[in-house]
Symmetry: C2
Subunit: 111 residues, 2 copies
DNA sequence: AATATATACATAAGATGCTTATGTATGTCC
DNA sequence: GGACATACATAAGCATCTTATGTATATATT
């Protein structure tokens, strides 16, 4: 099995968590942050991330701000008020999900 | 976000784990077992499970045995020798994956 | 006796969420 | 000057799931 198929569906909560913790991030920064935090285990591809960010913006979960550093531009993303609420719910859902996974995959451990 | 999207990609390791633990199971049994273990949180649909089981059989990960109880038939699945090896690897991969997820989603907790 | 629900399998169409590939452009290091 | 990093974006294609549908037997309900 391809290792990366596991994380399908988890990208959205990951992004929301990072925005919740850090307040304001740009796309490329998110990819790098995930790589560092997970010691290279999780690698977010740009082909997955950018369309997701656009979708979240359309849904009003995040809002953007473009910042220029010299001739370079960065697009910063911030959670909206609604986004912050949804982030809380999303975190609970992921927690429950991981608990369920652990119940099956680590039946002997008491989580 | 639809809650069930989270578990995309996790069905295969779940099935392998159950077969590894229980030796021999049939499809419907797997769906019920997951429901009980996770207290109703994870519901495996038959439309997802049966094609997966067939795929695993094609790949030589599992082998089947049909058993009749009265007029009813059950198709039992067992891990092959290769399947058992792959199950070990799969479990390690899922463990690493969950660890990575936790690093991002529970940054304050030391796992 | 009829109906609903549970058991048990299966497949097909469609949606979703990713990978891979490609493109543009600037900045930095050697 | 070329390689690599930074920074964005999109499109084609694939894998994995949901939803819908179908078949058939067994059991419980009314």
């Amino acid at each position: 099995m391809d290792k990366s198929t596991l994380y399908k569906g988890c990208l959205e909560p990951i992004v929301m968590r990072l925005l919740k913790d850090n307040g304001r991030m740009y796309g490329y920064e998110i990819t790098q942050r995930v790589k560092v935090i997970t010691r290279g285990e999780l690698k977010i591809t740009e082909g997955a991330l950018y369309p997701l960010l656009h979708k979240l913006e359309e849904k009003g979960v995040v809002e953007t701000e473009i910042e220029s550093i010299g001739n370079r531009r960065r697009k910063y993303y911030t959670l909206t008020r609604t986004g912050k609420k949804q982030a809380v719910t999303a975190m609970e859902e992921v927690k429950t999900f991981i608990d369920s996974l652990n119940l099956i995959l680590n039946p002997k451990t008491a989580w």
